[in-house]
């Protein structure tokens, strides 16, 4: 009923019968083409912001990390990123066009972003067909089956990644060794990730500087903390995301692992800094957890969300059998997002102070 009412409001009102209009027309003040005025409720101006502009900003923020990935993993990074982006966009188009039979929204950039983020979470020596399956799961199952952009409860790129991790554990956990501009793809020399080394794989842990720059084994886009932080600063300046989720995740991980390290330095031998710089934590905290659709809608909720992700990540990393837990942590907290939105409300203006 409201929609009918609003449609009426939008309907341009013809002024032809208005005497004043006739006077103005006679005086040559109006052209014949201008016989309609738009009547709509306020506001009559718009910021000009759009979904595409937001997606574009995130894509721009991902450029440094993308360049770092291309530098360390070479050809393989190029192949899987293009495969993921292309297949995500194509799947979204096909599903919207032929399954839903509606208008397509691939121009808003969200499928492109999902593709790029998915490839960031994959080892760069992954065969193309596995990447395509991951894209299909991400777009088809995690996004479109819930009604497209804005309706998906879980982060599509992470659903794709976790699906692949469970289905193809061998391929998904053999990471290529970082070699600048590596021309090898499927036959790239592999290296263990620092977190896997912790879990018992025999190798030497890289220096903290190398961890910060990204010179270590890992998924294509997650290795360089420096590049990801540059992207974070860009997003903050553009006000695309707020600081609440990334900072609360990183702080929680730092404090929690710091406490463990202080309580028992022998059992929990690595420093909290090591946890911040390794695995997918930076990528997850800055780009995956802050996904608009699947994160809470107000600052208080965001802090709780980030705290939850931090705790679950550390629990999986330190006590679980998987070396890495960021993806699982984010997906678990995605499930809590509606609950957080219901229970945690933003600070209201003139909120009555508790007596």
């Amino acid at each position: 009923m409201v929609n009918q009412l609003l449609e009426k409001l939008y309907e341009p009102v013809r002024l032809k019968n208005s005497t004043n209009f006739k006077n103005l027309l006679a005086a040559g003040k109006l052209s014949n083409s201008m016989n309609k005025l738009i009547i709509s409720p306020s506001p009559h101006v718009h910021s000009g912001d759009s979904v595409w502009k937001n997606m574009r900003d995130v894509l721009i923020a991902l450029v440094p990390a993308y360049l770092a990935g291309l530098y360390f993993f070479g050809l393989g990074a190029l192949i899987i990123s293009f495969t993921a982006m292309l297949s995500c966009v194509v799947f979204e188009y096909l599903i919207q066009r032929y399954l839903i039979k509606g208008s397509t929204s691939i121009t808003d950039g969200s499928a492109l972003l999902t593709g790029l983020l998915l490839s960031f979470n994959l080892p760069s020596n992954l065969p193309v067909w596995i990447v395509i399956i991951g894209s299909l799961i991400a777009i088809g199952v995690a996004k479109m089956s819930f009604g497209g952009l804005g309706n998906n409860p879980f982060n599509p790129a992470l659903v794709g990644r976790v699906f692949l991790l469970i289905s193809f554990p061998a391929q998904m956990t053999s990471w290529p060794k970082p070699i600048p501009f590596n021309p090898a793809y499927l036959d790239a020399v592999t290296a263990a990730t620092p977190l896997a080394i912790l879990k018992g794989q025999f190798s030497e842990i890289p220096s903290t500087l190398n961890l910060f720059l990204g010179n270590m084994g890992g998924s294509m886009g997650e290795v360089s903390a420096l590049a990801l932080l540059i992207g974070f600063v860009y997003l903050l300046i553009r006000k695309t995301i707020s600081w609440h989720i990334p900072i609360s995740i990183l702080l929680t991980v730092f404090i929690f692992t710091g406490i463990l390290h202080l309580v028992n330095p022998e059992l929990f031998s690595v420093s909290p800094l090591f946890h911040l710089l390794t695995g997918g934590l930076m990528l997850g905290a800055i780009f995956m957890a802050t996904d608009y659709v699947t994160s809470p809608m107000n600052p208080r909720g965001m802090l709780i969300f980030g705290f939850g992700i931090g705790i679950i990540t550390v629990v999986i990393r330190v006590f679980g059998s998987y070396p890495e837990g960021v993806s699982f942590a984010i997906l678990i907290m995605n499930a809590f997002t509606p609950l957080i939105n219901t229970l945690v409300k933003p600070k209201r203006f003139g909120e009555a102070k508790k007596a």
Partner: protein, 444 residues
């Protein structure tokens, strides 16, 4: 620099008509003065067809406490009392006066001399304001005398003057401060006397530096008036936002500003108070900004109430060919007009002519839950949630989510990247929830 702390947006200013001297709009051949254009009860006509009226003569009487008198803005003969379209889009009872000459009531002091001394007592001042039909000229047109008479047990401690003009395009208050700054400050002292406070703050946004420095210079010659420059941010001119910015206190939800001891009045209202008290002049004219991107002669016009907007727009160069929307008021809270036959009312702060290319809204997309509406909301509400509740007729839930706190500033719709008509749905829900609340209170 101070500002309000919650939400807010920064729309582009487009203050084309800033610094353009106030011109007098020509008197129309027929003035059509609406009788029910302010918040509260309509006024009842006290003239009949064929009556001769002079400028300043009362033609409509307030129908209750929250209502205001209406005065003739022109001299001439009452043609008829009939309904006429006003800015709300409804036809309201109006007095049609055929203009003959320009004969003012003898009691009105037409001299330009500034009278600082006010000999009237507090009660006399408030009676004068009530008799002379003064309402809030910022746009809400709430009868001024009601604000000056706080409910029993409440006492005002500060007068806050709104010289913010946070709406883009509009410059009527800005220009008034530049040209009539001293009169406004005399008006401030009169109201300070009326509500018995020792302190007043005039809030002016920092994009009006000339007005700030001028008012600061003038304020030195008055006691207890402070000029406060404010950081530019919309909707700073909202009553509750301005109080927050000026004295750092938030009006509790569901209460009036008097709860924190504040009375807020617009600068244009204060000028009207000055004229009523010192010059014996009822409210029958106001400053109207005529502006728009394609308009030739932007301007600030002193127009008599009841002047058809078409006449003033004509004086500003006529309706540009590319016009797609005509708005009475500013672009954030103004009302789209279906016709320029609408006449100047007490709340008409401006006419904005929007080019057709910018007038149409863009297509709505899915909510991407980006929280930009929550961040923008100056009342700390969740517009995305209220909109979906309104679409689903969840009135109880909307009330619990404090939809009645909404000030309809439009920040949510402005900020939405998906072009969702958030405020349209919230406004609709608010009207229904308001009705439900009133029925419930009536039953008690």
């Amino acid at each position: 620099m101070k500002t309000f702390k919650m939400g807010g947006i920064h729309p582009k200013e487009y203050k084309f008509s800033a610094g353009i001297q106030i011109q007098t709009a020509s008197i129309p051949q027929q003035a059509i003065i609406p009788l029910g254009h302010y918040l509260g009860g309509p006024s009842l006509p006290v003239v009949q067809k064929g009556d001769k009226v002079k400028v300043g003569q009362m033609i409509g009487q307030a129908s209750g406490f929250v209502s205001a008198n209406v005065h003739a803005s022109v001299s001439g003969v009452v043609n008829r009392i009939d309904v006429h379209l006003d800015a709300s889009g409804y036809k309201v009872p109006s007095v049609f006066i055929d203009v003959h000459g320009d004969e003012w009531l003898e009691t009105i002091d037409k001299s330009a001399e500034i009278k600082r001394e006010c000999t009237l007592s507090s009660a006399e001042i408030i009676k004068r304001i009530s008799d002379y039909g003064i309402v809030g000229l910022g746009g809400a047109t709430f009868p001024t005398h009601v604000k000056l008479l706080p409910p029993p047990g409440k006492k005002a401690t500060i007068l806050i003057v709104n010289g913010v003009e946070c709406e883009p395009y509009l410059t009527c208050d800005h220009q008034l401060m530049i040209e009539k700054g001293e009169e406004i400050l005399v008006g401030v002292t009169i109201l300070m006397k009326a509500i018995d406070v020792k302190r007043a703050i005039v809030g002016i946004e920092n994009n009006k530096k000339d007005a700030i420095s001028l008012m600061q210079k003038l304020a030195k010659t008055f006691v207890g008036i402070e000029i406060l420059p404010l950081q530019v941010q919309y909707p700073q001119g909202g009553e509750k936002q301005l109080i927050d910015a000026a004295i750092g206190r938030q009006v509790p939800t569901g209460t009036l500003p008097i709860e924190v001891g504040a009375v807020v009045q617009n600068v244009a209202t204060l000028f009207a108070v000055y004229e009523a008290v010192q010059k014996n002049k009822p409210l029958f004219e106001r400053i109207v900004t005529i502006t728009g991107k394609s308009l030739k002669n932007h301007g600030n016009f002193l127009a008599r109430l009841g002047t058809p907007l078409a006449n003033i727009v004509e004086q500003a160069g006529g309706v540009p060919e590319d016009t797609g929307k005509i708005v009475a008021g500013g672009p954030m809270m103004g009302r789209a007009l279906s016709s320029l036959e609408v006449t100047v009312a007490k709340g008409t702060s401006g006419v904005l002519l929007i080019p057709a290319l910018e007038a149409a809204r863009k297509n709505m997309q899915n909510c991407i839950r980006c929280t930009k509406c929550v961040v923008a909301c100056p009342m700390g509400l969740e517009p995305f949630l209220l909109m979906s509740q309104s679409e689903r007729s969840m009135w109880t839930e909307m009330e619990n989510e404090r939809v009645m706190d909404c000030i309809e500033c439009g920040c949510c719709s402005f900020a939405c990247p998906s072009n969702r008509p958030l405020l349209d749905h919230i406004r609709y829900g608010k009207s229904i929830v308001g009705k439900i609340i009133r029925t419930r209170q009536a039953k008690k």
